[in-house]
Structure formats: C-alpha cells, structure tokens
C-alpha cells in the first residue's frame, strides 16, 4: 500500500526551494523549447469576490441543519438564498465523531419524511444498561437514561447523509477548505471568512503549489465548528459573548472512541451500555459507553472530564485499561478494531451558554454549547440550534429582522427547557462521585430541575490541574496488542494525515513556557492528555528536554487548547483537507 507519497516527494525535492519550479526548469535551449514560468494558478487571481447570502463554517449536524432549513424556507416562500458550507475535512463526515445514541427529535422537525429517505438510522435502541464498575466487578444500577425511540448510529454516516440532502436542495458544500480567519468591515461587523493559504512550507516559504486563501463573503456568517471552534472562541472573546449571556466559563470532557467489529454471537444490535466508576477515581468525572450498531460493529469509548486534577492522568491509557475489565473484555475478544478517534465535548450545559449572536452572524451547535450532559446527547440540540438560526437569518436577509432574535428563539425553544432542567447534574460532581450520584438521583426522580438555584461550575479545566509534586506518576499497563494498543497503532486507525510540509498549526503563544512551566511544574500533561501523541519531550544535543510538536498526528480534538495550564497552546486550523478520516465514528 502506498505511503504518504507527497511527503516523500517533498524530501527529495528539497534542493529546489524557489516558489516557481517546473519539472522542465533546467532544460537546454538547443531543442527549441521555450520555457515560461509555471503560473501560480490560471484563473484564481481574479476571483476577488465570492459572495453568498449565508456562509456556514462547518459541515456538521448544526451547520448542515441550518443549511437545509434555509433552503427549505426558500422554497416555502418562493425566494432564493445562496448558501455555502465550508468544511475543513477532506470530505463531509471526516471530522465527525460521537457516541452516538441519537434522539431524532430535531430530525423529525427538519425532515419529517426521513424514514423513507434511506437514512443511516436503522438500529433502534433495544436495551439500556447502566453499570458501576469496580476493578473486578460490574454492579448493575437502574438506568438513568430513557432511550426509547432513539437509535444507535454512526454520526459520521448521518452527517454524510445530511450533506447529500443539503446538496440536493442546492446548498454548496466545499470540503477541504479551512476557514482560518473572520473578515470584518470598517464597523467591525463580520462579513465573511477567509480560508487558509495552501502550499506554505514548514519554514514559511511558498511551495511549488502555493495557493493564496480565498475570501468568502456572506451577508450572514454562521459558525458551526463544533466544540471549542477556533473562530468561535475568537469571536466570543472579541465581543465578550459569555459575559453578555450571563454565562460561566465552558467546561469540557475528552472522549476517546473505537469502533470494533466483533463476533456475531456477541453482537446485539441496539444494545446500549454506560458505565461509571473504574477506571476513573472518585475525583474524576467521566464514564464509558458501549453501543451496538449494525453489521457486527460496536462503538466503545471513555469520556473523561478535563477538570481532572492529577497531571499524570492519561485518558488514552485509562481507556485501554477499561477494555480489559472482565465485564467489557468478553465483547471485544475475537474482534478487530476498525477505527479510532477522539474529540472534546462540552459539559458546561445551561450555565455556559454564551450570547450566540455577533454583528454579522451567529454561533450554532457545539461551538456555542448545547450538549445535554446527563443525557449525554448534543446532536439533537445542535441541529435544532442550527434550524433556529437559519429561520432568523432568513428573516434577517429577507425581512430586515434583527439577528439578535436568535437568542430569543433559543430561549423559547425546547433546547432551553431541556438544558435548564438538566443544569444541576454535572456541577454536583464537583463535590465528588458519591455526592454527584446522590444529587443526580434526587434530580432524576424528584426535582427534575425545578428548584430556584443553579449550581456553579468549579475552576476552569486548565486551572484545575495540580502541580506534579502533589501526585505520583501512574503506572499504566503495557498494551497487549489484542485489546489495548499503543498510540501510534491507534492513530493509524484514525486515517489521520496532514500535509507534513506546512507550518505547525499548534502555536505556542510563548515558546518558552513548555520548558519553563509545563515540564517542571506539571510534568508535561500535554504529553499525556493528547490522544494523538502530538506533544513529546525529547532530549536535544545538550541533553535538555525540549518540546517536540508532531502536528501531523493531530486529531483536531482541541484538548490541548482547553487543558494547557497556562493556556499557552493555541489550536489553529491547518491546511484544509488534513486531519482524521472518520467514516464509521
């Protein structure tokens, strides 16, 4: 099987660093050949104005639902709006990863006939188990979830299907293009986005196939980048959107997941299992999931809240431990791993919803943060938020409505009601696992969110990490290659690739901090929480440990952007088309 051939090509061609190199550069005139310089790109330079009515960043559930809703309203009211969706993954669905037990509430509203349209939603939930794990046992508890009417799906596949539906309605989707900056007019109103320059080499010089990024202007720009979206974070800071919405900081968890193909006899389509407890300790919020999809495939994963305190904690290794549990192992024995991936998710819930409107657009989906933590579902609320934003955007363009009505629309919708009811589950776990469970029990059976108080979050995730001297290193067992694996093996299964000859997209705000702070004070937590082994400390010639950033491995999970103690690591978007290649996640 071919390896990354382009990276080999670059290494060999390193002698020709100038911007314009044709294969026929060093030729001899006595053949009568007239050589002219390779033009950069034939028709690009005149493409100064790419203008759409609505530009959506991110082809995920929220972005595509918004796009579909816009086109639906166009045909309802007999008008037309041009809608463009930009997606940094090489294909729609490539960067989509989620549990996923899907609640079709929003889909029922968006596409009422979805069942007849051959969606990849074919496995209804058939059983719902909830286990408390100790090292050796699994204690059955009453399930706090009600998954009647829900489906076990691959969100990546569902998003691909939504993408096809959107294109059928006339939405233009451009995968492989990363929106790297917001464009503003003279009044600081967002007028669109700019995509990355492509073809810049690691040292910053232009490669042979350099292409300048394009500006895509929109009358309205919707940011649907998923959890901790890079543009969304920038705009929230610029316009103080959290304060404006009376919101606390966002809190996060890191989810690490594999899809396995298992023995037919062990496979129960629609079976849903959630666990709490081992391998995580009482101070660390999180749990695991095991969902049976179709075709003998199961999704298994561990979600760890990123406000963990022990800097020696390694969520990836905890996940590998989990798979060896006597109650989990039997499912996996005899099976093979098909795909691996990881992504952070929002846990701030109701308390962390920012004001989602900015001059020129709005933030939808997980970039704002509508995940229902006790239900562990965010797809349906993300989709609904996209639909609401689309309806207001349509009115804003056609009838001069104020985009700020999106905030009102959200507060009048079932998203608000649902998130408000479930607001006190997660914060209760600040006091520990048992108090958290106790409060959850009370909430679930008695209060259902009907009390006047709202619990607050603890410290922001990056501030929660203790200094390394307060903890001792954790010895994790070696991977056995059958149930548990090392990071490079897992990473290979994520189909991750980036053009290697590009500037690293993980930027250090202060390049000295890793060696001055992260390593001595916190024992380099980034070398442990990153599920792709991007961050490694390697000894240089003077035997000093230096941070090495293997940006090519990046899964775009955003854990580093969230958890770095000094918030020194900034995740920026790499060249479009790079990143993981999820197909069944």
């Amino acid at each position: 099987m071919m390896l990354k051939f382009r990276s080999i090509l670059y290494k060999w061609n390193s002698k020709s660093k100038s911007a314009f190199v044709g294969s026929s550069q060093s030729l001899h005139n006595n053949h009568g050949f007239s050589f002219s310089r390779v033009p950069t790109s034939p028709s690009f330079c005149t493409a100064s104005d790419i203008q759409y009515d609505v530009v959506i960043v991110g082809a995920g559930p929220a972005g595509l639902s918004a796009a579909i809703r816009l086109k639906q309203m166009c045909s309802e009211r007999n008008t037309n709006l041009s809608v463009c969706v930009l997606e940094k993954g090489a294909q729609v669905g490539d960067h989509i990863i989620s549990g996923n037990v899907f609640e079709p509430r929003a889909l029922n509203e968006l596409l009422p006939q979805w069942k007849k349209q051959e969606p990849p939603i074919t496995t209804p939930v058939t059983s719902d188990k909830f286990w408390f794990l100790t090292k050796a046992r699994a204690i059955s508890l009453p399930s706090p979830f009600n998954n009647q009417g829900n489906y076990v799906i691959s969100l990546s596949q569902l998003v691909r299907w939504l993408g096809a539906k959107a294109e059928e309605l006339g939405v233009e989707i451009y995968p492989g293009f990363a929106a790297s900056e917001l464009l503003y007019d003279a009044n600081n109103k967002v007028i669109g986005v700019g995509t990355n320059d492509m073809g810049i080499s690691k040292d910053g010089s232009k490669r042979e196939n350099f292409q300048r990024g394009v500006e895509i202007k929109g009358r309205i720009t919707l940011l649907a980048e998923g959890c901790r979206g890079s543009l969304s974070e920038k705009i929230m800071k610029k316009y103080n959107l959290r304060e404006r919405g009376g919101a606390e900081h966002q809190t996060y968890a890191l989810g690490i997941k594999e899809v396995w193909e298992i023995d037919e006899e062990k496979h129960q389509p629609g079976a849903v299992i959630h666990t709490l407890g081992w391998p995580l300790d009482h101070k660390t919020y999180g749990g695991s999931f095991l969902y049976h999809m179709k075709d003998k495939q199961i999704s298994i994963g561990l979600v760890v809240a990123l406000n963990y305190q022990n800097p020696f904690m390694n969520p990836y290794e905890e996940f590998q431990k989990l798979k060896h549990h006597p109650a989990i192992k039997p499912f996996l024995e005899g099976g093979t791993v098909i795909q691996y991936g990881a992504r952070t998710l929002n846990e701030g819930g109701f308390q962390s919803i920012p004001y989602p409107v900015f001059p020129g657009g709005a933030i939808i989906g997980c970039s704002a943060g509508f995940l229902n933590v006790p239900k562990i579902k965010g797809t349906h609320t993300a989709m609904k938020s996209g639909m609401l934003a689309a309806e207001v955007a349509f009115g804003a363009i056609n009838e001069g409505l104020d985009m700020n009505m999106y905030w009102d629309a959200l507060r009048n919708s079932w998203i608000w009601e649902e998130l408000r009811k479930s607001r006190n589950y997660r914060p209760a776990f600040e006091y520990g696992l048992i108090p958290g469970l106790a409060v959850s029990g009370l909430e679930h059976y008695i209060f259902k969110g009907r009390h006047p108080f709202t619990l607050k979050h603890g410290k922001p995730d990056h501030e929660a990490t203790n200094a390394a001297q307060l903890h001792s290193p954790i010895q994790y067992p070696k991977a056995d290659g059958v149930l548990s694996f090392d990071v490079p093996t897992s990473l290979h299964r994520s189909n991750t690739n980036h053009e290697h000859d590009q500037p690293p997209h993980l930027r250090l705000r202060d390049p000295k901090i890793p060696e001055l702070v992260n390593l001595p004070v916190y024992a380099a937590p980034e070398s442990r929480y990153c599920p792709a082994r991007v961050y490694e400390y390697v000894a240089d010639e003077q035997n000093q440990m230096k941070l090495q950033i293997n940006a090519q491995n990046c899964l775009h999970c955003k854990a580093c952007d969230i958890k770095d103690p000094k918030q020194n690591i900034e995740w920026t978007v790499p060249e479009g088309g790079g990143g993981p290649g999820y197909t069944v996640m």
Binding site: S23, F33, S34, A90, N209, Q211, T336, T496
Partner: protein
C-alpha cells in the same frame, strides 16, 4: 493539440485498508475514495503543457461506477477542460481499461495520452503499456521529466529506471505514464471548484462503444499479509546454528 489524461478512482492513500470477511477483496463501503496520486501527477503535467501554450485542451477520462463523476469533478476543478465518464460496474483489469481507453483515443484523437504509472490499489503498472501496444504508439513510462518540443511533433522524456535515468525521444502521438518526481500537483482552488460545476462531462456506456469486455482474470482470494513474528534472542552461536538447522530449516 489535445491531451487526454486517464484518471482512476481508488481508495485514498491515507486510509487503513481492511480485507472483507469473505476474502473477496478489500472493504470499500464507507471508505474514503480519491483520485489516484499518480493520475493527479499526470493531470498536472497535462495542465502545465496547456499553460505553456503547447496544448489547447485537456480531457480527463475515467472508467468505473457513477461515483467516478466525483473524481472527474476534481479533475475539472484542477483545470481539465472537460471530462468523459465511461460507466461500468464490473471489476476492470488493465487489459479491459486499455481497450476502453484505446477506443476513446481513436474517437477523440489526442496527440498525447498521459496516465499515472500505476494505481495504488492494484499496483498493476500495465495499462499505459498495453494501450501503447494496442494503438501502436511509442511509450515512455515512469516519466520524471517531460519536454514537449515547440513543434509539438517530438517529446523528450526522462524515465526513472533501475539503472538510473534513461532519456527517450518520442514522436507524437505517444503514451506517457508519470512517476512520483515529475511534478507537484496543484490544489484545486475554491473558485476553480465552483467553475468546474459548469464544465461538461460526457457519459458513455460500454454498449454504446460496441465493446464486450470480459475479463481474463478472476480474483480468487484476498488476504492480509501474515503478521510479523517477533524475533527470538539466542544465547550462543551453537544455539543459533541449532535454530537455523532445526527451526528455520535453512542449513
């Protein structure tokens, strides 16, 4: 002067391949497919020749199921002027593809046919050579440098061969298959992708060509290569000799 480029849709090079349970092939369902990297290089070379003013039209051709249209659209987005899709859902081996492309060449009459040297799924490295034979055209495979002369009657090609670089001079029309170091394919820019939507793609079926393609090859089985076994440390030279004699059976 018209240049035709053959394009193949293959499993993306970054994807981890899995063998199907029934061992009839690899899993292609829900797997990312892209243009064969060598075909990208072939297309890039054709586009450059057009940009130098030496060709007037670049036609991209693909044979396969309807999803080939996506790959052709990528070719158009990179800059090809039009596309031709020959629809076929059966498994196609190099001889069959060569016969189809030969028919197209006789119909379109390009002066140059560019192909990638091989596809990364089957690694056959045959199609270009077979077409040259069927058409009785000169061929230069593993091209690492292509110089088309201003008179457009002769092309000089450097080939990467085991001994080093071999330089051939070919009279047009000719078949050239491209190797890795020929060029660096361009990115399809957003404006070009948008423009590509309006470029024409002609679709044909095999019946329209009056071609009967029956394959002389049948895939019996596809299996994964055996897992690499761990090495064994030996304690002494005698131990090594003993193992080589009795366990490995090589002495």
């Amino acid at each position: 002067m018209k240049i035709m480029v053959g394009i193949k849709r293959v499993v993306d090079y970054a994807v981890k391949i899995r063998v199907k349970g029934d061992k009839t092939g690899v899993v292609t369902e829900n797997v990312k497919m892209s243009m064969n990297p060598f075909c990208e290089i072939a297309l890039e070379e054709a586009l450059r020749l057009r940009e130098y003013g030496l060709a007037s039209e670049v036609v991209a051709v693909s044979v396969g199921p309807s999803q080939c249209l996506d790959t052709l659209r990528t070719a158009l987005a990179m800059g090809a002027d039009r596309g031709i899709h020959v629809h076929s859902t059966s498994s196609l081996f190099p001889l069959s593809v060569a016969k189809i492309l030969t028919h197209l060449v006789l119909f379109e009459k390009p002066s140059l046919l560019f192909l990638g040297k091989q596809a990364i799924d089957d690694d056959c490295n045959q199609t270009g050579q077979i077409i040259a034979g069927l058409l009785n055209w000169p061929q230069a495979t593993f091209a690492s440098k292509v110089l088309l002369h201003k008179d457009k009657q002769v092309v000089t090609v450097d080939r990467e061969v085991d001994d080093g670089i071999e330089t051939l001079s070919l009279n047009l029309p000719a078949v050239i298959t491209t190797d890795l170091r020929l060029n660096q394919p361009r990115y399809a820019t957003l404006p070009n992708i948008m423009k590509a939507k309006s470029k024409p793609v002609n679709k044909f079926t095999l019946e329209e060509f009056n071609l009967q393609i029956k394959s002389d090859l049948e895939i019996l089985q596809v299996t994964e290569p055996p897992k690499r076994k761990p090495g064994v440390l030996v304690a002494s030279v005698d131990d090594l000799i003993h193992k080589l004699k009795h366990d490995a059976n090589v002495i």
